[in-house]
């Protein structure tokens, strides 16, 4: 098995993704959950760049563009998510995700 750079990159991103996933699943602090999600997004971005760098692609900049959009959306997601965290905190005086299971206060 020949581990060429693309494989390395992909494994790298898989690892990052799973770290994020584990964090998300294992932690109860909502902020950390959100950060885990951010990590997963980053892992996805890594893949885009990796494929852009090593993969054959007809439009040269597609990977880059996708990452840009992804970053922008991630920023929006972070803003909304953390605002939600604050809202949750206001509501239940802590940020434990498992307690935030009601649609109604």
């Amino acid at each position: 098995m020949n581990l060429d750079p693309l494989h390395l990159c992909l494994i790298f991103s898989s690892a990052l993704f799973c770290i994020g996933l584990i964090g998300t699943l294992a932690r109860s602090n909502t902020i950390l959950v959100l950060l885990g999600i951010e990590l997963m997004l980053n892992a996805a971005n890594l893949n885009f760049i990796a494929f852009w760098r090593y993969g054959p692609s007809p439009v040269p900049a597609t990977g880059v563009l996708f990452v840009l959009f992804s970053i922008a959306v991630a920023a929006a997601e972070a803003a909304v998510g953390l605002a939600l965290v604050i809202a949750i905190y206001r509501h239940q005086k802590n940020v434990r995700l498992q307690e935030a299971n009601h649609l109604k206060g």
Binding site: L3, D4, P5, L6, H7, L8, C9, F12, S14, A15, L16, F17, C18, I19, G20, L21, I22, G23, T24, L25, A26, R27, S28, N29, I31, L32, L35, E38, L39, N42, N45, L46, I49, W52, R53, Y54, G55, P56, V59, P60, A61, V64, L65, V67, L68, I71, A72, A74, A75, A76, E77, A78, A79, L82, A83, I86, A87, Y89, R90, G105
Partner: protein, 175 residues
């Protein structure tokens, strides 16, 4: 396979793993920022410098701020920052699920035939990105802009709405 890449991978993954494991939220957040910076470094290494700078600007510059703010706003005392240990069951199931996914992914990656690395490193200038964004992808750009605006407004509304006036804590009205 170069030394810089390995270094980047090591730092990134290490920072991320540590961040997800630490109790201290601030340390977690800072380590995550380091991890993001690592991703940016990867981008730089891969030759996508524009994306790298954007990553730094957005994650290290902006998202980190929000995270830190959120951390500081959702605690009552300094001790709060050290999160109570999570239930072992949840941690275990999390590891299990994550590990399974990792296994599947690595397995998938390793078993897939992938194109070999390109002979020439692809380059993309800022101008190219600009024309691509403004040309074929203009609609997407507009949509992203709208999303960002709406998200910002939504975040402001969410964070600024107070349930009842008497519950107010000593909070700065952040965003």
């Amino acid at each position: 396979m170069s030394l810089p890449l390995l270094l980047i991978i090591l730092v990134t993954l290490g920072a991320a793993a540590l961040a997800m494991a630490l109790r201290n939220l601030i340390h977690s957040a800072l380590l995550l920022i380091a991890s993001w910076a690592g991703v940016a470094a990867f981008f730089l290494w891969a030759g996508a410098e524009f994306v790298a700078f954007a990553q730094v600007l957005v994650y290290v510059g902006a998202v980190s701020m929000i995270v830190l703010f959120a951390v500081l706003l959702t605690r009552r005392s300094r001790a709060d920052l050290a999160v109570a240990p999570d239930s072992l069951g949840r941690a275990f199931s999390g590891f299990l699920a994550g590990g399974a996914v990792f296994g599947v992914l690595v397995g998938g990656v390793l078993s897939s035939p992938l194109p070999g690395s390109k002979a020439v490193e692809p380059t993309v200038s800022v101008r190219d990105i600009g024309t691509q964004l403004m040309g074929p992808n203009a609609v997407a750009l507009l949509v992203v802009g709208v999303i960002l605006t709406v998200a910002l407004l939504g975040a402001v509304v969410l964070a600024a709405t107070e349930p009842k006036p008497d519950q107010g804590q000593a909070q700065e009205g952040g965003r």
